[in-house]
Symmetry: C2
Subunit: 253 residues, 2 copies
DNA sequence: CGAGTGCTTGAGGGAAGTCAAGATTGGTGG
DNA sequence: CCACCAATCTTGACTTCCCTCAAGCACTCG
């Protein structure tokens, strides 16, 4: 593997923080985030202890080994978590979409670098406040546990992909994952048959880092899928999947 | 990848269950398992709701897609969790050692096959009882959350390994992991300098499935490490590491 | 319009996979 | 106790998939 060039260091937390109090009632993820478990009147507690945070694409929210100061729920955009070997080889070990939690409660420092993959907004808590919420509201803690158990299952799927799938299967799996999580305009999941257009939140290089490949190999698999008629490359960053079944078939499993 | 041959199907849960009540006070993992968080008098609750379970090497505790009926804490031995692609390619996605929890609370069925990698004993709960314990004892749930967050961190490390490390680094990492978790006879962790002998809980084929390699490649890396003097192969299953620093250096990171 | 960035494509090489013997080990029964 | 057999592990020769290196192409933006 070729080591990675140094990347845009972006803004550190203190710089890009915006202390607008959160309006939970209009929060775009209020029904699906961990907060959803709290009874309405207790959301005030959240509002008082959290703040909105805007991050621009490329902004680094935490470096590998950093002291953990905040825990946040993603309200829009995509945040990536990466780990890096000493010689620069890099692996994306997690993607956080809207309603996902980033940051590590109950640990002194992060084992991962946290970075905005797209422009993003977060509902951010000071770590100690977040942990206090967990202690005081078992329903909140319980929901976080369920969320993390789901994440663990997803991580196991990803381990299968990284360890055993071919390059083509990896790319197909990645696109299938994005297509499946794609929501119709009304917020419901797309019907299984319908064509879906996916706006890729990652560059070719980032997809490579996610799949354990090189950018060139990723690009070649995109071309292969295009030639096979499984995807349409609207432009570099937007992909249409006419038939998700066909894509899923190539994903292995 | 070559598909795997079918493996010993072993015993299903109902067959190998032994209903001895658990003696928590003499439980080998009472200080480190999730149970440790419960105040002494509440351990009775555990004793009443759990039972000892012996599993022989190769016994299958659950198949991929099985309904989850039990959640258990490993009290001795090693249990492996695997995922399999339709053509038989296999990946070990988790190893549970003494004090680790296997089984999936809050889900209808397992996403992984659970199998004893060595002879093992477990402290097993009916899933509904386990979930009830979590609900009634926030401290218990809280500890489980912390344990699962640690597992998630470990999974991320493993994703880095699977996606980006060379075969030699993978094998070195695996041996380093085992050496580090090896305990001195008195139960404390070994001093960093001391030579450690590790009894491998997995066959070459299983190590390959854990590392995303083939058995032949694993064997070659063992030979390479032996020739380099980094390890001594006492026999096929026991490895001595004279200098863990040297091994760690080869593990990458 | 030229420079910069990100993506695609090609040619060649190398690390790990595949296929195929052997070598060890461990268990079983004569 | 030792001979035999099956299972596991090691080693070798060859192949393949993906990585590396290197152009060339397509946008975007000053």
């Amino acid at each position: 593997m070729r080591p990675h060039p140094d990347q845009n260091t972006g803004l550190r937390p203190a710089d890009s923080k915006a202390n607008d109090p959160i309006a939970c009632d209009s929060c775009p993820v209020r029904e699906i985030s961990v907060c959803a478990m709290l009874p309405r009147e207790q959301r005030k507690i959240i509002a008082n202890r959290s703040h909105n945070r805007k991050a621009n694409k490329g902004d680094v929210l935490a470096l590998e080994g950093d002291r953990v100061t905040h825990v946040a729920s993603v309200t829009s955009g995509v945040v990536k978590m990466t780990k890096t070997l000493s010689d620069g080889r890099q692996q994306i070990v997690g993607l956080a979409f809207a309603s996902d939690v980033v940051g590590r409660p109950f640990a002194d420092d992060t084992a991962v670098r946290i970075e905005a993959a797209t422009d993003a907004t977060l509902c951010s808590f000071e770590k100690s406040h977040f942990e206090q919420l967990l202690r005081e509201h078992p329903a909140f803690e319980s929901l976080l546990l369920k969320v993390k158990l789901d994440e663990l299952d997803a991580a196991k799927d990803w381990m299968l992909l990284l360890g055993r799938k071919s390059a083509l299967e990896k790319v197909a799996s990645f696109l299938a994952m994005l297509a499946d999580r794609q929501l119709a305009p009304d917020g419901t999941r797309m019907p299984k048959a319908a064509a879906v257009t996916v706006e890729l939140p990652l560059s070719r290089a980032e997809i490579a880092d996610y799949l354990g490949l090189t950018l060139e190999t990723v690009s070649r698999q995109f071309s292969k899928l295009k030639d096979a008629g499984v995807i349409v490359l609207d432009d570099g960053r937007a992909v249409t999947v006419p038939d998700r079944q066909k894509l899923a078939a190539l994903a292995g499993n």
